[in-house]
């Protein structure tokens, strides 16, 4: 009797465990932006974890063995691509012991394959140009149109991996499109008076963002991508800001404020910390909140 009870208990435990595992698709993303979009599309049928945090520089995430624990259990891996993860993802994947998520395999989704990419270098490049991305600028998620393109790819992949939930994912994608369309109209209307405004950025993280809102990047605080500010280049930027009467310097939260603050003080501009990723600070829990916050910050500074 007792034995039967124990057996049925164990059977129930195992059963429930495997059922739960079958219900939710375990998605691991490189950064928090694809994670947010996956939650939009996947709803309660997915469990999403991001390796990178929104407040860290996505180029320099450390390949910690603890991430191997995540990757080993992943049913789907989503990457930003364009070599953004080159410094840390390959060694993790090789040790992940999860053939499903290796590049080229069915559960490896490179979201850069279906989005609009800017700053694709024309002609030969080399590292005297700094840490250039040979396949184009990887910060493409900062354009709501690209967010839709990412969501479409995510929906297609989720449907492929879980055909039974395909209708659910398709319905959620449509819902997301409607909501982001409304939000985007609001963002564009708010930013409309500042079309053509010139700004200075710290790192070239914003080409898609500025293009979407019709802003123009007049210069960057880094003399070359990934190369820290130099005194002579800092002077050039101060002069540039003065000459072109630029009001705003945009920087990412993970860079040092010293040089941007110095430039702002000397040139009479304002430093605005914008968040390149979901999770960039507490409260920026999804893609909508990220854009709400960035648009608000920018409006305050441009007014």
């Amino acid at each position: 009797m007792n034995r039967a009870l124990v057996f049925s208990l164990i059977a129930a435990l195992i059963g429930s465990g495997s059922l739960a595992a079958a219900e939710k698709l375990n998605v691991v993303t490189a950064t928090q932006d694809p994670a947010s979009l996956t939650r939009e599309v996947g709803g309660d049928r997915v469990e999403v974890t991001s390796i990178g945090k929104g407040y860290q520089d996505p180029h320099f995430i450390e390949p910690k063995p603890s991430f191997l624990l995540l990757l080993r259990k992943a049913d789907l891996l989503e990457v930003v691509g364009l070599d953004l993860e080159i410094g840390w993802l390959p060694p993790l994947l090789e040790q992940s012991r999860n053939p499903k998520i290796l590049p080229g395999a069915a559960a490896y989704l490179d979201l850069s394959r279906g989005v609009e990419i800017l700053d694709r270098p024309a002609g030969a490049i080399n590292r005297s140009m700094g840490d250039v991305h040979p396949f184009g600028n990887p910060h493409y998620w900062l354009d709501p149109a690209n967010a839709v393109r990412m969501a479409i790819q995510i929906q297609q992949k989720l449907a492929e991996l879980r055909p039974g939930d395909a209708a659910y994912f398709a319905q959620r994608l449509n819902d997301f499109k409607l909501r982001i369309n409304d939000a985007n109209k609001r963002w564009l209307a708010d930013m409309a008076p500042y079309r053509g405004a010139k700004i200075v950025t710290y790192h070239p993280s914003w080409p898609n963002f500025v293009k979407h809102f019709g802003l123009q990047v007049a210069g960057t605080i880094e003399p070359k991508p990934g190369i820290p500010p130099s005194p002579s280049h800092t002077l050039e930027i101060i002069n540039l800001i003065k000459q072109q009467n630029i009001k705003v310097i945009i920087m990412e939260p993970y860079f040092d404020r010293k040089t941007p603050d110095f430039i702002a003080e000397k040139a009479g501009a304002k430093v605005v910390v914008l968040y390149p990723s979901v999770g960039g600070k507490s409260g920026l829990d999804d893609y909508f909140k990220l854009f709400d916050a960035n648009v608000n910050e920018l409006l305050k500074a441009l007014k």
Binding site: F60, P65, S66, P91, G114, I152
Partner: protein
């Protein structure tokens, strides 16, 4: 009122006329050119704005994905990732006969090593890794192995020539070391090349409820490591076992603990075994928000060596601390002990970019058997070209 304004304007124009007439054609040409330039600039700006407006679709419900085709030349896509790292070493200070022979005549500056790495996937199952080391002695395959990445049961395996997974320092290539030299205990016990041999290495990750990464590695090598192990007969293999535990303390810091055991045949003509047991401990701190500017790594590695032809057990360790001072500056300290030798080293490293580093190291070693102390200054310049390698961890 308006008529009054018109009259004034007309009068102004009439007064200005003689002056205009005096202007040379050249000046007028210049004025016109300037206006043309201004207009051209304005048109370009308007065109840009139109482009921006065009490309910002106001209706996101109709957005379609685009198809980005790989731009790499089709003939080149299967070429392996190639990189070359140069290691220029400068040495000055007192002569060091213990390490560099009785007539220590080191060049003050030399291209100590050029390391070439070739890496690519072989097929869906394996990745090939070759590391060729070019030194004054010639070219050598430092490592060359296939890494099997799709094995079942949480296994990965490597086969070929490779560095043995003994401790931490022994697994690093020159450019991964935070120092210009090897720690004494590694240099004295394992030699310049470290424990590397031809063999097979199998690792398994063990699932556990504590969210700790646990990995066990078993390795069998053919048994020839210069000055450490020698193969006298068919069964004189060299075995190594390594256990690694890694856990996050919190988001910014983590701890890695390792234990290793290696055993092989004595390197000289006497029969018997030579064995090493080691533990290693690595503490890392890097606050994610300021990860570009601040970090700290503390390391300890201790090794005991037992030889069947000697009663005396040899012991050694190193303990090091490396602190990132700014985005491109690192400072470090290392304490060394290996049998009767004692040493200390201080380093300062500057990284102009991710692809080059310049290091100065002051080291002081007291050679116990000789009763002599040697002070040296080492300078190291390392530079990498080619494929972007992964960052070290």
């Amino acid at each position: 009122m308006a008529r009054g304004h018109h009259l004034f304007a007309l009068a102004g124009l009439l007064l200005a006329l003689p002056a205009t007439a005096q202007q040379t054609t050249e000046q007028r040409m210049q004025q016109l050119e300037k206006r043309l330039d201004d207009l051209t600039r304005e048109v370009a700006q308007i065109r840009q704005e139109i482009d921006a407006l065009k490309s910002a679709p106001t209706d996101l419900t109709n957005v379609q994905t685009v198809s980005n085709v790989s731009t790499a030349g089709a003939s080149k896509v299967f070429n392996p990732d190639i990189s070359v790292i140069g290691n220029v070493l400068g040495k000055s200070g007192q002569p060091n006969p213990h390490e560099f022979g009785p007539h220590d005549a080191r060049a003050p500056l030399s291209l100590d090593e050029s390391e070439m790495a070739l890496q690519a996937f072989v097929d869906p199952y394996a990745k090939a890794n070759f590391f060729l080391s070019v030194t004054h002695e010639g070219i050598e395959v430092e490592e060359g192995y296939a890494q099997f990445v799709t094995l079942p049961y949480g296994l990965t395996a490597r086969a070929g020539k490779m560095k043995s997974m003994f401790g931490k320092d022994n697994t690093w290539h020159t450019h991964l070391r935070p120092w210009a030299d090897q720690p004494l205990v590694i240099h004295n016990f394992f030699g310049d090349e470290g424990l590397a041999d031809e063999g097979i290495s199998v690792s398994k990750a063990f699932a556990n409820p504590w969210n700790v990464f646990v990995e066990g590695t078993g390795e069998i090598f053919s048994g020839n490591v210069e000055g450490v192990f020698r193969r006298h007969s068919l069964n004189d293999l060299f075995y190594n076992a390594h256990l690694k535990l890694f856990g996050d303390i919190n988001e910014s810091s983590n701890l890695e603990i390792g234990a290793s055991f290696a055993r092989g045949a004595l390197p000289d003509d006497r029969r018997g075994h030579n064995q090493f047991a080691g533990i290693d401990l690595t503490y890392r701190w890097r606050p994610l928000r300021q990860g570009l500017y601040k970090s700290f790594i503390g390391r300890v590695e201790a090794i005991v060596n037992d030889r069947s032809d000697s009663e005396r057990r040899l012991k050694g360790f190193y303990a090091s601390a490396d602190r990132q001072l700014a985005q491109r500056w690192f400072a470090g300290l290392r304490l060394d002990a290996a049998d009767r030798d004692r040493g200390a080293a201080a380093t300062l490293t500057f990284w102009p970019s991710e692809f080059s580093q310049l290091r100065g190291e002051l080291r002081r070693i007291r050679y116990g058997d000789a009763g002599r102390t040697v002070n040296e200054f080492l300078m190291q310049l390392q530079f990498a070209i080619g494929a972007h390698g992964a960052h070290t961890f």
